[in-house]
């Protein structure tokens, strides 16, 4: 048991604890504000990581080393990493638009948020300001980890198991929803593939490349088939087909 744990168990606040708190508490707040204020989603996630790290240290300070480390490993290490993973897939330039759709919405949100934070903080301070912490020593008597384990596997074992069942159900459900399994009938063998390739209405050759026989070399310009028609199949589906106007196709007068 470290000195800080012992001190915290005795209800006292050591100098080191105070110093750590007053260094990390502003950092945690800055992280929280930065998370809301950052325009870039990845920056937002990083600010949140800062807050979570500070929270982890706070847990350790308050004689809960296990929960502090778990906070860092699980939340910061795994969950935020998954967030980052998804954000990176979205793309690095995906920033929030700052156009206010409701007028005065931002001001109202700031005022209401500050008011709510003030109310909660004031209420908590009034309620717990002069309460002395008791029972920490008994709870951590055999060590913090052992204490948590004893509670989890005796008194709260049912709730614990239910939570894990819930999480597993959620994970399996997500996998079932996301997993696309092709049925056996849908799988085409080589002969069926060839048949569908040469079936009437399907052009068996390779697709014409974009810009081939076209009026422009842009990928958005559809290619022309041998009979002169435009083919939609040559352009990516997400790109809109754009035909050049007469003014754009006419000679610019630069070549004499």
């Amino acid at each position: 048991m470290t000195t800080q744990t012992v001190l915290a168990a005795a209800g006292g606040v050591s100098g080191g604890e105070q110093v750590t708190f007053w260094i990390l508490a502003p950092l945690a707040l800055i992280g929280a504000i930065g998370m809301v204020a950052a325009r870039n989603a990845v920056h937002s996630a990083l600010w949140l990581v800062l807050t979570m790290l500070c929270l982890g240290v706070f847990y350790v300070l308050q004689a809960g080393p296990f929960i502090g480390m778990v906070q860092i490993i699980v939340y910061t290490g795994a969950i935020m990493m998954l967030f980052l993973f998804v954000l990176m897939l979205v793309g690095r330039d995906a920033s929030d638009s700052l156009i206010e759709t409701l007028r005065g919405q931002r001001t109202a949100a700031v005022v209401l948020g500050l008011g709510f934070a003030g109310l909660v903080g004031g209420g908590l301070y009034r309620a717990l300001g002069d309460t002395t912490a008791v029972g920490l020593e008994q709870a951590n008597a055999e060590g913090n980890v052992q204490g948590i384990a004893r509670l989890l596997f005796t008194k709260y074992v049912f709730a614990f198991e239910l939570t894990s069942a819930l999480l597993i159900t959620a994970a399996v459900g997500a996998m079932v929803l996301a997993h696309v399994e092709r049925r056996k009938e849908d799988k085409m063998d080589q002969i069926a593939t060839m048949r569908s390739r040469f079936a009437p209405g399907n052009y068996p050759g390779p697709k014409p490349g974009p810009g081939v026989f076209a009026t422009s070399s842009s990928v958005a310009t559809p290619a022309r088939l041998p009979d002169g028609r435009l083919t939609e199949r040559s352009t990516p589906e997400i790109l809109p087909v754009r035909e050049m106007t007469d003014r754009e196709t006419s000679l610019k007068g630069t070549d004499k």
């Binding site: 048991m1 470290t2 000195t3 870039n40 990845v42 920056h43 990083l46 990581v49 982890g56 080393p65 296990f66 480390m69 778990v70 860092i72 490993i73 910061t76 290490g77 795994a78 990493m81 998954l82 980052l84 993973f85 990176m88 897939l89 690095r92 060590g143 913090n144 980890v145 002969i191 048949r195």
Partner: protein, 447 residues
Amino acid sequence: MYLAQDPTLADFGRDPWWLVLGKIVFAFAFGLLATLLGVWFERRVVGYMQVRPGPNQVGPFGLLQTLADGLKMAFKEDILPRAADKVVYFFAPTISVICAVTALSVVPFGPMVSIAGHWTPLQVTDVPVAVLVLLACSSMGIYGIVLGGWASGSTYPLLGGLRSSAQMISYEVAMGLSIVAVFMTAGTMSTSGIVAAQAKGTELSIGGFDLPAPGWYAILLLPSFIIFFISTVGETNRAPFDLPEAESELVAGFMTEYSSLKFALFMLSEYVSMVTMSAVTTTLFLGGWRAPAPITTFWAGANSGWWPMLWFFAKVVALVFVFVWLRGTLPRLRYDQFMRFGWKVLLPINLVWILVLSGLRSIEDWDAQGKGIAVGIPAGILLIATLFWPTRKPEPKPTLQEQANNRPYGSFPLPPMDLQVPPSPRTRRVVAEREPANIAAGSDGEV
């Protein structure tokens, strides 16, 4: 003097400030020196395995090659890509290094020693959850790689960062689960406690016989050890799991855009984390700083004083050699193989092993008959299940004629089965026109 060698948690946190500072500096210097020597060691060993000399010009045996490379790197131009996210790009390598070095602070290098009159453990600090601190450090170290990949603002680094985040999350699960077995056996999460728990061999009583079991968890918990070591290779991005920096696919992965000192920091963090992971494996599974088994029997003082650091470093170097050996031997895995290996092989084996282990531990106090029933029934069920598991009978292979008849309508025409290809007339002509070779007459006239 040979008493009370094992530090307990109460021995920490009472050193004077200069001693703490000295220990921290020592751990840091150990990390840096290990990198300098580690790169050299790796290049020499891989060179030996590939039958070429490796670096041998700078300094004795080429020992100073890494130092020269490091100095050269420091003087190179530091390129900042225009598309880079400047702040994150700058901080990413430092995050990697800080996390890799911090993990060394809870690794026990040796027992209690006397330094300038202070009786102190050779370990920067220890907490009741020290192993979780190690896990936290390794999981935070991923941020350096992922953010470096993202902030570079180009495609290869981004792909490297994505791979690394997926890889490290997957392999950290396997790693955490294999540590669970150590926690269960040692009954503590503090690193010094785990080393102390491996000090003496336990007595296994199997069917009335008391068998002395070795204390090392590498032997006692062999599946956990193997899985842990494999996942440390995955966690440190080393070959064959170096997919985030696979040079055949991603140039240099997450550090493609990095140059100069920032690149050097990434290299540093890679080697420091390799050494840290070796040290952690030594601590958790190989008895930590304790002398290997035969030494202590004829030298009682092997585990006291400063000697244990020797054993510790020897074990770490041996593990680093295994890292290098793997790199020199195994080809890189494909990404899907790698993920399948982590989630579908390592994880289930680990879970089953933990189940078996906790079952064995919970019947420890039972009498012989109860033990027999508790072990015998599951073993019997397993045996019966394996014996009577429905085997998938291979269908008899159809004959050629059947295969030909079973072909669907519209298939390519087949030549007749009994087709006899007549010899080509040209062949006959060539044979007929060939001049008889002039062969010296042998003992028998027919050649």
